[in-house]
Subunit: 325 residues, 2 copies
């Protein structure tokens, strides 16, 4: 089992990271970590690579080029150079993490643009849906989106989904719907489907995202960010309204108390449902946790990194893209 | 009070429309309707303009150009030509309704593109947020979005919001975030703010849409469609999970029954929360209800049309855009 590099300086609550590591170890005692952070504070339970330079959330992503002593840069170099490192997890500046992954760890040969890929729960128990791209590339071309479809499918295959159902996020299900980008992408995805490269099932409207009918949903990074954050905001809004409803009558209040234990479990559907978004398309996997991720979400991010480190995703993607021409 | 034209042939459940009209009349007995539909079936309680030609949901929007006897076209001509008609409500083919509104009713002088504008509930009781544009224009330019900000603000002013807070939908709150369109739009919105034309409060992330901090959120039609449908899908998903949670233990089940009455009220937060989306930028208001709108949603659409018919929105918008140069 290869080791997982952990950015101890990233995110709004760095103190949660050690707790998440302990919890992840209870789930999987074979996990091994390498911490990147302040040696004086981190003890000697795990190997520590020293860094006290944290890239702030407001800093430009490109600072990773010059800030070679930042925790994000150091971890990216270690991931690239060390045979015993299998993945890197950070809750730090998203742009900086993705830039370091692309520039330092490097792209898989053939990949035009790596993409950020969260996975969400669906209405169907046990089925999760992956969004590719959820924010790494703002202005995308149809060719990028076709590669996203292929890369996302390969990732889902490593999860045991035999023929991942790929959908294109669009404003209607009819073939001719959309804006310039989605209209052009639709045609290319259909061609990739006919060539047997993906299982493209057509356009999908955003309200079907969590229906469980799709395994991989493809969109440009701007739209993916909107999808993810709208879902997060809607959950928060509705949970707050559910809470409010329990306060509206004495019956509802008692009812709320009686069902509290079960309802509390739903809180996990919010931002924690995502936990860790895997950055797909780099030679070794980098996993991004939300800056304000809960301990549960961080545990999830660590497990996403573990699974990615164990899989042969990079080789699969390289092979799948070679077959593309 | 001007009359409201009702498309009796549009939508998946035309039989709900008469019921919705009755309910709307109980709320406001001054309402008057003109029905566009089959004379033989509609009785003589209201004026009926005869049409049996319904434009199907799968037909191209441009058929309104040639199908002059379709209910949508007939209603649009009546709205344009008759002094006693104040607004038009349809649950029919969205593209056809918007095309008829633009081509037949016509744009307000100065308007580049009319936009479709639903309004959603927020976490703050009594505060609703308007999305402009939620799907009328797929590939937008910064100038369109600046006009959307101005038109949306004028609409909110007719609702009593003195200085509507305008936000641009983006992937981060920092000024330099986004794709090409939002980066260019941000600069122009800031200029419009500095010129005193709008109250632009900056970029907004999608998870803040229903926070109650914004009155008008501006985006291109593709993104607006995604925002709206993701929120709808998330509500459906979570309500289904809440229902499921009540089945997980006997305590939760009794709790669910006790709080059912209050929780049922939340169902309205789904698609019914929108009800009617007003198409802003045409000389007279056209309101689009969802094809599968509930009776409650249709009542809401009728009331949106009534308010729009009473307001001086077109005059306000014309004046606001003249001041723009």
């Amino acid at each position: 089992m290869k080791k997982i590099l952990i950015d101890m300086l990233g995110g709004d609550y760095p103190e949660r990271i050690l707790e998440a590591m302990d919890k992840a170890l209870k789930i999987d005692p074979t996990l091994e970590f390498i911490l990147v952070g302040d040696k004086e504070k981190l003890g000697n339970r795990w190997e520590v690579i020293h860094s006290t330079d944290s890239i702030g959330s407001d800093e430009a992503p490109t600072v990773v080029r010059t800030r070679k002593e930042s925790s994000i840069s150091i971890a990216a170099y270690a991931l690239r150079d060390r045979e015993d490192c299998g993945a890197f997890v950070s809750a730090g500046n998203t742009g900086a993490v993705l830039t370091a992954a692309t520039l330092i760890v490097g792209r898989i040969p053939g990949v035009l643009r790596p993409a950020l890929c969260p996975s969400l729960p669906t209405l169907v128990e046990g089925v999760r849906v992956m969004i590719i791209d959820a924010g790494a590339n703002m202005d995308s071309k149809p060719e990028y989106l076709v590669q996203f479809a292929i890369m996302g499918s390969e990732q889902m295959k490593t999860k045991g989904v035999e023929s991942p159902r790929v959908a294109l996020v669009n404003v209607g299900t009819e073939d001719n719907k959309g804006n310039e980008l989605t209209a052009a992408t639709f045609i290319q995805l259909k061609q990739a489907h006919e060539a047997g490269k993906i299982n493209f099932v057509g356009n999908m409207e955003a309200n079907e995202m969590m229906s469980g009918k799709y395994d991989v949903i493809v969109c440009d990074g701007f739209v993916g960010n909107i999808l993810l954050k709208t879902a997060e905001g809607s959950f928060r809004m509705l949970m707050s309204k559910v809470k409010g409803a329990f306060r509206k009558s004495i019956f509802a209040m008692i009812g709320g108390l009686m069902s509290k234990r079960q309802l509390m479990k739903l809180r996990a559907l919010g931002s924690s449902a995502v936990g860790g978004s895997i950055f797909i398309g780099t030679k070794k996997p980098v996993v991004k946790a939300h800056g304000s991720a809960s301990v549960t979400a961080l545990v999830n991010a660590i497990l996403v990194a573990r699974d990615a480190a164990r899989s042969d995703l990079a080789t699969r993607i390289e092979k799948a893209l070679e077959n593309k021409g």
